[in-house]
């Protein structure tokens, strides 16, 4: 595939991964602080949905 498409694919991958890591990390930290178990999962879900929305805003519309 062309290098433009390849760059776009890597940056989409980066957006999604960083959304997961950031909000998952916040959820994980809150879990450690409050002693619960499920906040990590909520953080991961918020992160991935926000990241997908961001990717659609940035890449999905021409």
């Amino acid at each position: 595939m062309s290098s433009r498409e390849e760059n776009a694919m890597w940056s989409i991958f980066g957006y999604l991964l960083s959304g997961l890591l950031f909000w998952g990390g916040i959820g994980y930290g809150l879990d450690k602080w409050l002693g619960t178990a499920y906040l990590t999962l909520i953080g991961l879900l918020v992160g991935i949905s926000g990241a997908i929305y961001l990717v659609w805003l940035r890449f999905g519309r021409q």
């Binding site: 595939m1 062309s2 498409e5 776009a8 694919m9 989409i12 991958f13 999604l16 991964l17 997961l20 994980y28 879990d31 450690k32 178990a37 499920y38 990590t40 999962l41 991961l44 991935i48 997908i52 990717v55 659609w56 890449f59 999905g60 021409q62």
Partner: protein, 269 residues
């Protein structure tokens, strides 16, 4: 809880006597958390999120700047989409099919990618072999097709048509009605989820048996060492078979979801 750094197999191996081969069991499916002891950071959950990332990235890239003469990536993405849209949605559901295509497309690609993780090197774990994932997917199919039926025909008429099927002589209702109630409300979601789960669980277990068994045979006396390539060979054949089963199970799940929706939308007259 198992201490970190010790696998279930190590514990079992320390307790086994004689040859020391520990056959793979359902304990091999319980993977420890990757870091910390939070139960939501295990490998199956990481694989599920990875599948979402891969599917989103692939389809967003392949559909942007869509040209009339498609590039290879665009053609690949379009092939999967048109397969679900035509062969699964249009042919099965009929004239109101477009609004179900997103849901069926999501189901198909999600289950397919998660199944394929079972044979991809370094990942090698089908996330659908943890039973809660198929349960939730079957629950969403169940909610969707009942909701669609109630919206289309009204709640009372929909349930009455399920329980008392029109066109059947009244005496047969004693036989048919309990069966229909069981089927529509209990058996359908149960079989939908357990079919997917059992196929993935059994396939992974088979691969584990032959590959771990081959490795164990290789460490034995010379007679056993000569047999171990056959175990690995069977493992390779089973990997191809497993690939076919994984694609088939994704297709069957989506096909049944489309059929249930079509059944809920059907006009009796």
């Amino acid at each position: 809880m198992i201490p970190r750094g010790v696998s279930v197999r190590d514990l079992l191996r320390s307790g086994a006597e004689g040859g020391g081969f520990v056959p793979p069991s359902s304990g091999d499916f319980e993977l420890p958390p990757i870091f910390g002891d939070n139960v939501y950071t295990t490998k199956p959950i990481a694989l599920v999120f990875l599948s979402v990332i891969l599917i989103s990235a692939f389809f967003i890239i392949s559909s942007r700047k869509a040209a009339v003469l498609p590039s290879k990536l665009q053609f690949a993405g379009e092939s999967v989409y048109t397969f679900v849209r035509n062969d699964l949605a249009k042919d099965v559901i009929g004239h109101d099919f477009l609004r179900f295509v997103p849901y069926l497309f999501t189901l198909f690609t999600f289950i397919l990618v998660n199944n394929l993780f079972g044979i991809i090197p370094l990942l090698q774990f089908p996330s659908m072999s943890r039973v809660s994932f198929p349960y939730i997917l079957a629950l969403t199919v169940y909610l969707v097709f009942h909701y669609v039926g109630i919206r289309k025909q009204g709640a009372i008429k929909y349930f009455k048509d399920i329980m008392f099927m029109p066109g059947v002589p009244k005496a047969a209702y004693i036989l048919i009605t309990p069966l229909e109630i069981l089927t529509f409300f209990l058996v359908r979601p149960l079989t939908l989820s357990l079919r997917l789960f059992a196929n993935m669980f059994a396939g992974h277990l088979l691969l584990l048996v032959f590959i771990l068994g081959g490795e164990h045979l290789f460490q034995g006396v010379i007679g056993l060492k000569l047999i171990s390539p056959f175990a690995f060979g069977i493992g390779i054949v089973l990997t191809f078979f497993e690939f076919m089963v994984q694609c088939l199970q994704a297709y069957i799940f989506t096909l049944l979801a489309a059929l249930y929706i079509a059944g809920a939308l059907a006009d009796e007259h």
